[in-house]
Symmetry: C3
Subunit: 680 residues, 3 copies
């Protein structure tokens, strides 16, 4: 196992966060104190310049970088590296005043005023021009700074714009996609229905809120266009940076399950993946370990964009955010757990937003390392300090990677299509379903990648494809190939209903040739009311048991498939609910209904057995991960419960945190973690 550090300059787990010294330039005492306390807290990296445009360039063409130079020098001299942002995430007032085209137009066709967050038109030439100048200045001045580790493109890129410029680009996007053939577009969008045929590409408009909203193909292409346009913009920044500073890698900070942008497309442009993690820790609706499993799902999505290297956790908070419905404090220990969990899932950094709370404006009460109080004897500071010490001990982990035997398909195009689908019930719960099924794997200690349907299925033993409603070209064939070569595929209700442009497959679902793979077709899909339930009864040697079914029940006509479970109620009682079909060297499972967690877990256990994947026996409340490298593995055990836990069957090795050697048994205190470096 070749373990390669993310950065040449530093081979450690990074610890730090957003630092906005430009807010405190009139307080040199505070700036000085910051350095002292960063060192105390084990900070080895900070992110600068995220919102600095109006300080860099207070009026058009007037630039001020000296303050930054002094800050960067000082940081570097104190052993702290710099992630430098391009400041395009927030435009100065003078820019919007002079070039209103830089501001976004809403889906109602109304241009925003200055001041809304995420308010740039990504198509605007003037905005790009001004960003370009800024990047040239920044890269020119700081590109060779010894402390510069990484470029941070803009900030949490997001949103959509409906201006005329974006409309034109959308039309060009469509013209290219449909090869200048408007009839092809009309066919794929099925526009003859409701007399919606278009005569020319330049007749097509974005889906304005008071315009065309009923053509699924248009809606989907609009979302693709938006990702394309955002990626195009991002590429503009990246290409300029690569030209100016070829040796400095580039990232941008992603967000949690952000529906507006297909990150799987954007990820390709980046040198490494980073993201911002703000879960509702300590909520009142689920156990702590459930929340943790959900975060693990999010980390896995991010990690799976680049399976050969670690990602980085760019932003998180040591205490509380200010925008949850209820902004509860992180309980003692949770911060440590959340830091180590990120590393366990493949991150080589724990970053914070932000180092010091600003005195005013929208995020003045967003948690930070340093509070308005200004003291370092606070609980929060001490927990950050503890995390810093702990992350130092995890230095050997840096650069190691996660290698799951199982993967789940989570696909933005599919998500968009399902959400826009008119039918079934309003909330189809695609994301929630994927997260839940992922949770059953992680609960049993089985690491899982979460990948797009375009991604390589090559090495996995088990592939779970929940609700794979939309089949992009080639996906059906690749699923067949995966199975034929010995893989185990698990699909569910709603598989293979539409093609990439949401045209229904004719001749039976799952379409595009998947009937053969699963050995069945579905005749109807029943949507249950919330009060309705059915039961799936498994009564074969494969599995015995009755489990709750709800939300959706497909009526299945098996051809070659073997029936594993049947419905026990309603007019389709006794018909198949769950089947398996042998295909080549592998097996294709079909789960025709939404089944309760206990039922899915029972089913998965049988499948893991069949696949030769070893589940890890974990007490309730424990999350387990492993990373590979340095001739062995790093075994992470996280106790998200308030009980002392006794783990057996632990791989022997050295606990990096305590320094002790662990044989088979590991005792974990409440909310404690262990990271065992096993050389086996």
């Amino acid at each position: 196992m070749n373990q390669k550090p993310l950065f040449k300059k530093i081979d450690e787990i990074l610890h730090g966060g957003d630092y906005n010294p430009e807010q405190w330039l009139d307080r040199p005492d505070i700036l000085k104190e910051d350095i002292r306390l960063m060192k105390q807290a084990g900070v080895n990296v900070v992110t600068l310049g995220v919102f600095s445009w109006s300080v860099y360039e207070p009026s058009e063409g007037e630039f001020h970088f000296d303050w930054l130079e002094s800050i960067m020098d000082n940081l570097y001299q104190n052993g702290i590296f710099i992630i430098l942002a391009t400041p395009s995430g927030a435009r100065p007032a003078w820019l919007d005043e002079k070039y209103p085209e830089a501001m976004r137009v809403s889906s109602a066709g109304v241009r925003n005023h200055h001041g809304v967050r995420h308010n740039h038109c990504m198509s605007s030439p003037k905005y790009r021009e001004k960003v370009g100048i800024m990047i040239q200045k920044l890269a020119g001045k700081f590109g060779k700074h010894p402390g510069l580790l990484l470029w941070h493109i803009s900030n949490e890129l997001g949103g959509e714009c409906y201006c005329d410029l974006c409309k034109s680009r959308f039309q060009e996007f469509l013209r290219k996609k449909y090869k200048d053939n408007i009839d092809g577009l009309n066919q794929e969008w099925w526009t003859t229905f409701w007399s919606h045929r278009f005569n020319r590409f330049d007749q097509i408009e974005p889906p304005y809120s008071n315009g065309e909203g009923s053509i699924h193909g248009l809606n989907l292409d609009w979302k693709r266009f938006n990702t394309w346009n955002m990626t195009d913009y991002m590429r503009f920044e990246i290409e300029l940076l690569r030209k100016l500073t070829p040796d400095v890698p580039v990232t941008t900070n992603f967000m949690r399950l952000y529906k507006t942008l297909d990150y799987s497309v954007m990820a390709k442009e980046l040198d490494l993946i980073s993201w911002d993690v703000y879960p509702e820790w300590e909520n009142d609706y689920e156990a702590a370990v459930k929340t943790a499993n959900g975060v693990s799902f999010d980390h896995s999505i991010m990690r799976s964009f680049k399976r050969d290297r670690p990602f980085i956790l760019m932003e998180s908070v040591p205490s509380l955010v200010n925008w949850h419905p209820y902004n509860k404090l992180k309980r003692p220990g949770t911060h440590k757990l959340s830091c180590v969990q990120a590393v366990a899932c493949g991150s080589d950094m724990v970053g914070y937003f932000q180092w010091r709370k600003g005195r005013g404006s929208y995020e003045q009460f967003h948690g930070a390392v340093m509070d308005h109080l200004g003291r370092s004897d606070t609980r929060v500071f001490k927990e950050v300090e503890e995390a810093g010490n702990l992350l130092k001990k995890l230095q050997p982990v840096a650069g190691s990677i996660v290698k799951p035997q199982a993967a789940m398909i989570f696909d933005w195009n599919n998500w968009w299509a399902i959400e826009d689908m008119a039918g079934l019930s309003k909330d189809k719960k695609y994301g929630e379903t994927c997260r839940t099924l992922y949770g059953l794997f992680i609960k049993n200690g089985i690491e899982m990648d979460v990948i797009s349907s375009d991604a390589d299925f090559g090495d996995y033993k088990v592939l779970v494809a929940p609700m794979l409603y939309l089949l992009k070209p080639g996906v059906a064939d690749r699923l067949k190939e995966f199975t034929a070569k010995g893989g185990i595929l698990i699909a569910t209700y709603l598989t293979g209903y539409v093609n990439e442009n949401t045209l229904c497959w004719l001749g039976g679902f799952p379409g595009d040739g998947l009937l053969e793979l699963f050995g069945l077709y579905t005749e109807e899909i029943d949507t249950l009311y919330p009060k309705d339930t059915n039961t799936v009864s498994f009564q074969t040697e494969f599995l015995h048991g009755d489990y709750r079914a709800f939300d959706y029940c497909e009526i299945i006509k098996p051809q070659t498939a073997r029936v594993l479970g049947e419905y026990t109620r309603d007019f389709y009682s006794g018909t198949p609910a769950v089947t398996v079909n042998a295909y080549g060297k592998g097996y294709a499972y079909y789960v025709g209904t939404r089944i309760g967690e206990d039922g899915m877990e029972a089913l998965f256990k049988k499948i893991w057995e069949q696949a030769g994947i070893e589940a890890v026996s974990l007490p309730e409340g424990i999350e387990y991960h492993s990373r590979f490298g340095n001739g062995g593995s790093f075994e992470f055990y996280l106790n998200f419960s308030d009980k002392v836990q006794r783990l057996t069957e632990v791989k022997p090795g050295k606990n990096l945190i305590t320094g002790e050697t662990v044989a088979e048994v590991l005792i974990l205190e409440p909310f404690d973690v262990a990271v065992i470096h096993s050389k086996l």
Copy 2:
């Protein structure tokens, strides 16, 4: 009893639905298969051309009708008649592009973009011009086609427009209504309040969402204008068609309780009534027979627009729709029941939207006879086939009519006025209340017409007028006349509060002379909170019992009325809640509070007795209807329960479905129907 068929060309119950072959012109195999399967399914009529404009006229002035000619010929040669739509329900893109005035303006004053459904400005001369050209082409080419049965104007006409053209027409509408007398308008709208007086008619604006919304008279006249304008538009299409094809009748498809348009006005322009029926069958909030009774209410409204002839059910779905909150499958048997129910209520057709599911766009998952699957061995196809066979057996029913002895007043003007009323509580539940009271009649086998307050009250024995808040001119006198001649009138709380323009009657409610009819006046109306209840106690020889009262309690001062029930709680305990007043040869009942269903049913039973209306003893779960013709009657029994039901007191005759002769006793299997042709 003279039984006259609806159409000269065919004397059967029609069975068929919307057929959109223009979506499949590149698939002659499918078009051919369609004909074969239609015949198999007993289809004798299809509706063509509803959304065909962009295929008829892909660009301005370029027309293509050959494909339709070939389809129509083929259908006719296979024994299938055609309902031909005017395609004005959906405009092609080029039309909106060139003539934006054809697109609607929202209540916020913003013109829509192309693509919104229901997006025509009914006032637009250009839209009318283009529709006129299209109608001349269609009628010229197909007006004499032997298969053409009926014109289908546009599609589900609906909506409102706030453009300047509509504003001007609204002003003209007001000028005519108020005889060019602005003072008269000011008086009727009570504009002196809040200083809202108008100086001139051309100063008045529609009730924009950011404009005048507080003048009830204006709001009501705006709704009337909208119906008038829509009717004017519809008349434009109809007159043109009548000129071109005087022998072809005309309809348009109505929707369920569509609040925006007063169908009682529009109905007058049509040769026959048709409507689209999409109930939430198989829901989780009420028994199946309750849902059925509600549908029966809707059918009765439609039937009552033209009491001398059948109506037709234009659209329904054999499986599920795609726009309910939960789109559950129709259970086996429900389709048969829903088809026969329509006929039982007076329809001579069962139509579907649509024959074959399109591959894409908004309604791709709306149920249809033929699924994307493309097989005819599906449950849905077989149930449609069964329905087709069954409807053939009902041929003798075609042309017969329903003749209720009771009627309910359900009035759009009243509905609008109650909903716009500021007071009481937010949801006054007018429609729900009418539906519930109707359900008590149908539950007891008593057929009921549902009529506007303008309609003729002449022949009924019992007339129920729930919440008749607004009294149009002459209505009070006609109610008196109805009662004086021996009718029994049942009115409720909220009767006679305002005149046709929502001015309150002075001198006591119920106003306009109704104090004399009911022999009482109401002093106050108490609105109860949801947790509040009262009780009405009936303690006379007429009726004994205590029943729940809720929502509204009027405090009644009886003059000549006799008290039947009294409140038992609160400060008005012991005062009258329900009264009756002898008036001429009849009786006027007044129910001053909202009473639970059991109480209302008990009251109605006494009244039916008094009126000489015979209730039919029906087991729970059975719905009963009858149609008259062919020297006897057709007795419909629909078993909406999962139990075998034994009915006694059944009129003897031949069961058209089984061919068996029924004496007094009828056994009905779960979800089965019987239609007995009784010659008594």
Copy 3:
């Protein structure tokens, strides 16, 4: 105690209400009947002209006042005084048509159409010009009318406008406030965050809904501007009236907890305070006495604007309104109680909206003295008549004042800042919390003023400052001074977080020097989920008991403060929840968490004891108030329960209502009142 009547012309409790005879000019019979019935009902004042502009001036420059003259003469001759409104609350249609600038622009930047309520741009010169002309006419014609008692400015002034004129005035407002120093503004608004720095004042825009919404300082200054601009407008009317009729006092009618305007600023311009009272009497969610206590809180806010004189209740309703979610009738007796309660709280008037229900438009079903029915033998009329008689008996009370020993700070700036704060949870419940804590005082018979943080704290023994998040300049010092001089101050969680422009205080909350006063600092604030709770345990000689804590728990670091209660759960179990700090001659209490009512009541009881404030022992259901004057006090006992209540420890004196002398014991029938004039 010097008791000075509010008006020179009449030394009685006023009784009357809005009278809109212009709606009935065509019905002289009704106008005549009005006078007769007013006298019967004990009406001695009416408000005229609130919505009369379109009758005064039906077209531009054409004036009609003769009708008013005749009405006023007739009223005066019948002993009824007149409150005359300026009619600026509703503009005639011709004005908006000719001068659209007079109509308001929404936060989306769209100008309203004519007709919306509260639809004036307060900045509009044309609107002011037209109002000015009208005032000159009115004052010229009626300023010396012997019946004229009071000017009533406009009506329920409210709302905001986002037009360009308002934008300019906002910029000027900011320029003055920040002394033309844009850097000062940038610093106070902390605009460096998110790169929000402004270059010039004329670059700043109002917080459009699609514009800048994230700068708390801007949001707050916008609200201040809006109050400033509204006050400026009001002052324009007032100054004109004072010039024309120096002897006639001026008021405007306020509304209940109206968040949009800081009444404490506006109140300064008025000669006396009046307000409109529309509680949800007889609701289904709380006991009647709780509703009453809440109304008492509202009265106290109004009274406290001018502590040296009575206020007046301008509008209320004898029966029901038409805009509550459920408009329930006032039960018998409630009207009498609500009238006397107003007087008990310091009002010298009970007014109604309105005398007679109009026949049409938005408020046709709003309760009134005279109904559409037109009879005076109704329950409502008789209760009004009873109230009239009763208020006559309270003549000795007129001019007396309320003199509480306790006060609560309720501050609009603080309210705005808390509501706009991003953090904690969405609904901070500032108003609700103040109302609840006030209720604990009134429940124990302790009268309380409710004052702005700018108001004088001088005379009170106890000052409660709930959630005093924002500290205006000087407030911290004045709180210290109040305490040092012997006052008892009670503050809570969220005290002293930000300065007047929402910049966080550095160095610890409560900021601006209050650490010294309370002897502690807070390290964190925990927001609890709705299902979470904690407990505060008091275990000192001061207080023993365990009470529920919820919503917010601050983690407190006491310095000199003594701990009274501690948390018993969660990671901060055992840390201080409630403390007290001796400061000078007084004490500063700090309540770090939201505690249930029983806990707060227990705490308050100890504090009252300490302060030497005597609680009155009241049975449940009784509200008590007192007014001082005429060498003694007026003791009000209001029985809001359906039980006969026996009160002991009553001050001896004459019951003004029954004429009987009361010694120590008072028996109150259900829903009855007593007003004892005690000369002790």
